[in-house]
């Protein structure tokens, strides 16, 4: 009690001493999605270093770890409401973003989810934005790739039934695959499943040509290990949740060949100007973050950086830290030159208009010796 009082006094004194703009950061820094959460945080930190001031005031990042739990995410959101931040960056996953968005929308605080892709997230209200594409786009692209490019007639789909992202994405994939004439078989599992042997035994009779997996690495690593052990040699396609070092590190050589859709890396961004900006940011990232491994830089880093960039740009444009004015500036933002591409929120529900999805493939020799190969990129504008 006394400690918190002292802290409060310090905070008040501090805010008189140097006027500060506070931005909340709500990320999965521990727990299941810790790897992606920390990548995103690094992106935000580097962007913050590049633009530490707005309207002549220091920007202070208030970082909160939601421990990859819904309760933790709500607690972080409530803490930001009490601290009076202008906006909140994060969370990365849809399951943590949606509960936080409900709290922040009620309190009238801006939230920019860095990589939530479930369409619902931004439909919660007018204060909720995101940096990603949505899963109907991702699912559609992945299904078209699997059915048309890989020529699969029968596709087995694995979805995590207790996760908003995985469940929704599998649905979009399934619908498009069926529309394109493929047969599908959906298998469900829940978080922390490690034994997939029975599900694998089920798809054996179905004889799939390809397998789509819409979940995360914590389950993906044992899934792949058992899949290969049980004699399945089919191509497996995953989504952006597998853009996580925990996948190849967890499964080792069994993960070799996995193809996935994810946030575009600099090489895959079609717009040459945006590509230049992304390359410059990448160089800055490796100069700033000590002992960063090459595999650590991915689209999540860029999305994190841009969530910070657009919020600061909106504050600048509004000319005030009044949340309502900043929200209006953000909602009317057009062609912001972000490091992840061009960002336009005008006329959308809070999802940027032009986003690029990259297709990647893992080449894994062992848990410590792996790399990602960039296959190609597709932008939202190109598809619709």
């Amino acid at each position: 009690m006394r400690k918190s009082l002292l802290l409060a006094v310090l905070v008040i004194l501090g805010s008189f001493a140097f006027a500060q703009v506070k931005i909340g950061v709500n990320l999965e820094l521990s727990g299941r999605f810790a790897a992606i959460g920390n990548q995103t945080l690094n992106g935000i930190k580097v962007a913050h270093m590049q633009m530490p001031k707005v309207l002549g005031q220091e920007v202070q990042l208030v970082i909160c770890d939601d421990e990859t739990t819904r309760e933790g995410s709500i607690a972080c959101a409530q803490r930001f409401v009490n601290e009076g931040v202008v906006g909140v960056l994060g969370a990365i996953s849809s399951s943590m973003s949606i509960p936080a968005a409900e709290v922040l929308q009620d309190a009238g605080i801006i939230m920019i989810s860095t990589s939530s892709t479930n369409p619902q997230t931004t439909q919660i209200g007018d204060y909720i934005f995101r940096m990603a594409y949505t899963d109907d786009f991702q699912g559609k692209l992945a299904a078209a790739y699997v059915v048309k490019d890989l020529g699969a007639k029968r596709v087995a789909i694995f979805r995590q039934i207790d996760d908003d992202y995985s469940y929704g994405l599998a649905g979009f994939f399934d619908a498009t695959a069926k529309k394109l004439g493929a047969k599908t078989l959906v298998q469900d599992y829940v978080a922390n499943t490690v034994d997939f042997t029975a599900q694998l035994n089920n798809i054996r009779g179905f004889k799939p040509d390809a397998i789509y997996y819409s979940g995360f690495c914590a389950e993906g690593a044992p899934f792949m290990k058992q899949l290969r052990e049980q004699g399945f040699t089919q191509q497996v396609v995953g989504a952006d949740a597998s853009d996580d070092p925990q996948c190849p590190e967890g499964a080792g050589a069994a993960f070799d060949g996995w193809i996935f859709t994810g946030f575009a890396t600099p090489n895959l961004i079609p717009d040459p100007e945006a590509k230049k900006r992304a390359e410059a940011f990448k160089a800055k990232y490796f100069a700033t973050i000590k002992n960063a491994k090459p595999g650590d830089f991915n689209g999540f880093v860029l999305a994190g950086a841009d969530s910070y960039n657009v919020l600061v740009a909106a504050i600048k444009k509004a000319g005030t830290t009044d949340v309502k004015a900043v929200r209006d500036a953000l909602a009317n933002m057009e062609h912001y030159p972000g490091v992840s591409g061009d960002i336009t929120y005008k006329g959308t529900d809070g999802t940027p208009k032009d986003r690029t999805i990259g297709f990647y493939q893992y080449k894994v020799k062992s848990a410590n010796d792996w790399k990602k190969i960039e296959l190609f990129g597709k932008s939202t504008a190109e598809v619709q």
């Binding site: 298998q187 029975a198 690593a221 049980q230 967890g250 848990a367």
Partner: protein, 387 residues
């Protein structure tokens, strides 16, 4: 007399229920297309492995409950520690000799102290021989080569056993004689502590446990035109489980310490009056339970290929369920419950593919049914062997 009548009646009822289940299952298997004999065999092997792992963990719950009536919620975390110890033993070796010496002195010293207090090693000659084996063995193992899974398993079992004894000494022993609720809450606290300790010390990331051992070699065989996919671990897990059970059974039924354990389980106070060192028996129970959990942890990691600090949560709850289904406090009950749970989890998914996400629900529905009709579990009625 009355008791045996009830027993026979309830046995008949359970047999009848069992028969109905078997008939229903048979009908279901018949109606499923593509469910060939090879797939039945495949499922059986997978279920046996999973069930054996649950059984090993469940034994720890049931033993501790039998002795001090405590549900040791931190047991799942002991299981997690076991897999991490083996992970480090297998990936960090060979260590430079100076570090190896340091680890040997700390680890060996603790192990020796704990073993001495557990097994009454008063005689100086024996103690000397034991310390030589432990210090020399640990140093030798850590220094000269990369450890395989057998050495990793052995070292991890020893270290985890000691961790279990320390847990008991630090968290539960001061509460001996306090109301049971206090101990229960402490157990929950210990569980949370170990989870967060694991995240801090081992890192929150998922680690791959990709031991390229003989256990992961495919040993596929054919039934008719179809292949059954088979790896060494599918035999080794049930075998090691059976071996450990056999040793445990010998220990409990044939040795003086085992007798002391059984006496303590029946009535700790009276046992103490008869000269049984109850503190020692309790520590020993934690030691054995933790050894079994470590064995399960290492084999679980080899089977599923990854470890993380929260990995003990679900298997812990499942194994606890298994112990209650079998009749908590009963050794054969824990094994029976563990196997039953493993089989349900696998076969529910196979026979009802659309319900695959709800396999845990079936396990817990079974728990509720059994608690309704046999509150003391499947074999919990017989209170004679309640260690």
């Amino acid at each position: 007399m009355a008791a045996s009548k009830i027993t026979s009646r309830s046995t008949i009822i359970s047999l009848l229920i069992g028969a109905v289940f078997v008939v229903l299952l048979g009908a279901r298997i018949n109606s499923l297309e593509n469910y060939t004999f090879a797939r039945v065999v495949q499922d059986f092997l997978n279920a046996l492995t999973l069930g054996s792992l649950y059984a090993l963990i469940a034994l720890g719950y049931t033993m501790v409950y039998g002795i001090i009536r405590l549900i040791n919620f931190a047991h799942g975390e002991i299981f997690m520690l076991g897999s991490y110890f083996a992970f480090y033993a297998m990936t960090l070796t060979p260590l430079p000799w100076a570090i190896s010496l340091l680890v040997t002195i700390i680890l060996g010293g603790t192990v020796l102290l704990v073993l001495r207090s557990l097994f009454n090693l008063e005689e100086p000659k024996r103690t000397f021989a034991l310390s030589l084996i432990i210090f020399g063995g640990t140093f030798f193992l850590l220094t000269f080569r990369k450890l395989g899974w057998v050495e990793g398993l052995t070292l991890s079992m020893l270290a985890t056993g000691v961790a279990g004894v320390l847990l008991e000494a630090i968290a539960y022993k001061p509460l001996r004689g306090a109301p049971r609720e206090s101990m229960l809450i402490t157990a929950i606290a210990a569980s949370f502590f170990l989870q967060n300790f694991g995240q801090l010390v081992f890192g929150a990331r998922v680690r791959g446990f990709n031991a390229q051992t003989i256990l992961n070699k495919p040993l596929n065989f054919h039934i008719g035109p179809e292949t059954v996919y088979f790896t060494g671990i599918l035999v080794v897990v049930p075998l090691i489980t059976a071996l450990l059970l056999w040793v445990l059974n010998l220990f409990v039924s044939r040795t003086r310490l085992g007798k002391a354990m059984r006496a303590t389980a029946q009535d700790a106070e009276v046992a103490q009056m008869m000269g049984v060192n109850v503190n020692q028996v309790i520590a020993l129970t934690f030691f054995i339970g933790s050894i079994l959990a470590a064995a399960a942890g290492v084999m679980y990691a080899i089977r599923f290929g990854q470890i993380h600090p929260l990995m003990g949560l679900m298997p812990g709850i499942k194994a606890f369920t298994a112990a209650v289904i079998g009749g908590i406090g009963s050794l054969p009950g824990a094994v029976l419950g563990g196997l039953l749970l493993g089989f349900i989890e696998i076969y529910v998914v196979s026979l009802f593919p659309t319900l695959s996400a709800y396999k845990d629900v079936f396990a817990f529905v079974l728990l509720i049914l059994i608690l309704l009709f046999r509150p003391s579990g499947l074999v919990g009625e017989d209170l004679t062997e309640k260690v």
